[in-house]
Symmetry: C2
Subunit: 508 residues, 2 copies
């Protein structure tokens, strides 16, 4: 039997990494640019980010945060204020050293006007924002200070992959200062919950909330918390992080306040961020061998209408009906906004158009031709179902229930992703089983490794060296120590006691 | 008679430049940072930008544009593709030359990992976007291509001033490609009109739409159009520009398409932008000697309620009433969104609070105490009127008419700015009068120049050298050749014929 034809080649099973690139290309989300490691986010991809921004920004404001904007450049001396911090970022900094160009001896333009102090293009903004906070915070009355910034950041990664790891990326970074450690920790956890809420309830991606081990902490943080998702190749993807920074950055930047008793104290700070990486998360969680699958709450076009006609005579009548349906649908609301509907009036064959929108991930497709019009019905295709699995639905019924249908698609995507994660999450209690779990089957040379592994839940005694050895052996790391309560046990690697199981996986 | 006391010192008349800085400080809009020429935009200032973005973004989308995102860095070779373009920006480029930091001989971190080709932090994105467009445009079917980007850009200015001229600033840059010159020119004018519409109808700032002379054109453009506003020191401020780029950038980046006849042609492109400079425009147009005056459509807090009570007993009753009024007001809409209302419950004296919000520019202040409650009335202060000019208005009447009141404040601000501009715009027909108009009265050494001049409308024969001489003599330039029809005449400087009067002014 021949393999079913798919719109994306190769399929996930054949070559997952290449499938990912081809989904991005087929949906026209982004492309590589002439600048090493930097991508161009095309309109269809950027629209996802705009929707994410809108929802997250509302969530941040609802939790009392205000937006502000800080300089793109960080003086080298600022980055060095926190020792672990500069160590963490020194190897991947874009450095500005000159402030103009002038003609060199051969007439070609060369950098000129050397700066007294090099400037770093921000890889993250703790130090430059800390400098501002040191001016803004004087008294306990100035706390808590709850600030967010939407910005671009640069980390000079050597191996890049669109959306997942690029030299420049877009993100938001929350930065807050508090009077007590307790309040700062509460803020750290509150924002982790906001992220988990967003990723599950808007992106339809299930996540595990947990804490990072010391080796995976943000450079300069006391504690790093994260949400971890499982991609369809069973690797983990860190979708967002929230850091409790203790007083490290407050001491480095001298963020201090007079408390109610008149004593000068250093503040306790947090930072938290999500980035355009979330788009990669979304692609890798839901898309299939026919291309992108957009979760309905983040799709700008939630419904596409493809008019089907065989003659120029039929065309105006069909278009009129389609636009009438579109108007009725736009009057409906889903996820706090009017439903986004596009009537595809391009001069293309109907079948071409249908596949175009399948690859672009639009949640619902309506094909409407003269025969449907006669019945006052629509031919409905859902992106969470097979391309050929289409149904005729009475127009009035479809319009009346469209919001519920979009919610059903969301629920179905989330349920599927949960089931997938559950199917590939295993409790493992011996070292042998653990090593076997993460060792791929042998394949031909040059062939991509087959999909294998998943989340291994083991007890772990927390030894840093052991974690490093497992990383060296298998490229597997502790993704997080889950926040959910667990039972104590014995570490299968050391035989020492362990408070709870941790999540091990290969990761993006 | 002593001068009236004002919240801002110095006043506009005493020292306009310093007054501007003090308005920004008193309203807590922004501050200078540790990075030369870069500012920190504080929450109250950034909220204005967010509101501007929201409205402009809707306008761009309504005119068919889509957002995308392009790399922050531009390879030096790209910038050089268009000769006039690189000449225009070479003197003010931030140049990235290295991609990591490492410990030098003395242990201090120094730039390492020199790049093969230096990267320029974008001062504008014509060349990097042109590179993408050269891939996106293949056929006439791909045109028009209508793209916008929200981004930060860097121009290494030597003399900076908050919001008006900073090394890094935030902006949007539209970039479009078209099949014909005619369509590209139509787009250039359409977006100029969008800007004029926004600045007048949302910012309440009247503008003159016009074309720049050759000397003031965007580097690489065929024609540059602009909107020019008059500030309260009678200087001109260019609030937005829209460029017809001809085929210059299309040829430089090879943006070409097969037309319907199968012939390969270069596209015609445009670009257009407004920036955080608009916030400076807004401050300088409306603010007074008591601080910021926010145009109601761009204020996040449109109404502030200051509860007035003399005892802890009165407090809960007053707060309850205030919050009740706030709820009723939030149910009203103005300028397409719910009205923004803040109840100032801080532990401060009522008078302190009132002045706090005057300096922050909130359009309407409501003072509510037990006596107002008895009458079921509110004590209403409008920011476009004197601080002491307050009126008691029945609660129900105020709520029912609040949207009209906000519109009235907008209308009043626009009317006032128009009248100011008209009062300081003069038709001038002799060289002597022109020179006298722009020569300030003598003042003590070190004193700031007194406010003088304005817009001088003269005929002009268009000689580049003459324009340069006037610039050298008076620091005055042709701000624009207005688009509105004018009558022909004689240039007072050369005696040559002139098609219409142009606008001369000193400018920001």
């Amino acid at each position: 039997m021949s393999k079913p034809k798919t719109a994306i080649s190769p399929t996930r099973d054949d070559n997952y990494a290449e499938w990912y690139q081809q989904v991005i290309r087929a949906a026209d989300l982004a492309e590589t640019s002439a600048v090493r490691g930097c991508m161009v986010i095309k309109p269809w991809g950027y629209a996802i980010w705009e929707n994410m921004q809108r929802v997250l920004d509302d969530m941040f404001k609802a939790t009392g945060h205000q937006n502000a904007y800080f300089p793109l450049f960080i003086p080298l001396s600022f980055l060095q204020k926190e020792a672990a911090h500069v160590d963490g970022f020194a190897k991947e900094c874009a450095v500005v050293t000159h402030h103009r160009l002038e003609a060199g001896p051969d007439g070609k333009l060369v950098p000129a006007g050397e700066l007294e102090e090099p400037l770093i293009v921000r890889p993250t903004s703790e130090t430059i924002i800390g400098d501002a906070f040191s001016r803004w915070v004087q008294s306990y009355r100035d706390l808590p200070l709850l600030i967010n910034q939407w910005a671009n950041v640069v980390r000079w990664e050597m191996r890049t992959r669109m959306f997942l790891r690029t030299a420049e990326f877009l993100w938001q970074e929350g930065h807050t200062a508090h009077a007590t450690a307790q309040e700062a920790i509460a803020e750290t956890m509150r924002m982790l919950d906001v992220y988990a809420d967003f990723v599950e309830n808007w992106m339809a991606v299930p996540v595990i909330r947990g804490e990072k081990t010391a080796g995976e902490r943000f450079p300069g943080a006391e504690q790093t918390f994260c949400i971890e998702a499982m991609m369809q190749d069973r690797k983990a993807l860190q979708a967002g992080t929230s850091h409790f920074l203790g007083q490290n950055f407050a001491k480095a930047s001298d963020i201090a306040f007079l408390d109610q008793g008149g004593t000068r104290q250093h503040a306790w700070t947090t930072s938290w961020g999500v980035s355009t990486r979330l788009i990669g998360t979304l692609i890798m969680t839901h898309s299939d061998d026919d291309g992108l699958v957009l979760p309905p709450k983040l799709a700008t076009v939630q419904i596409v209408i493809v008019p089907i006609f065989r003659s120029d005579e039929e065309k105006p009548r069909v278009l009129e009906y389609c636009n009438h349906v579109a108007r009725d649908l736009r009057a409906q609301r889903f996820a706090d906004r009017p439903i986004g509907v596009l009537v595809d009036e391009r001069d293309e064959r109907g079948g071409e158009k249908v596949w175009h929108w399948i690859k672009k991930g639009v949640p619902i497709r309506l094909e409407i031709g003269p025969r449907d019009m006669e019945k006052d019905a629509l031919f409905v295709g859902r992106r969470d179902r097979a391309p050929k699995d289409k149904q005729s639905v009475a127009r009035a019924e479809f319009v009346a229930t469209v919001s519920a249908t979009l919610q059903d698609i969301h629920d179905e995507l989330l349920k599927r992703a949960r089931a997938f994660r559950q199917a590939h999450t295993h409790r493992i209690d011996t070292k042998e089983e653990f090593y076997a779990f993460f060792t791929p089957a042998k394949v031909a040379e040059n062939a991509p490794p087959p999909i294998h592994g998943g989340f291994a839940m083991t007890h772990f005694s927390g030894d840093v060296e052991l974690e490093q050895k497992i990383r060296d052996d298998l490229s597997v790391t502790v993704r997080c120590i889950p926040l959910d309560p667990g039972e104590a046990g014995i570490c299968p690697f050391t035989g020492k006691p362990s408070a709870k199981r941790v999540v091990w996986a290969k990761a993006y």
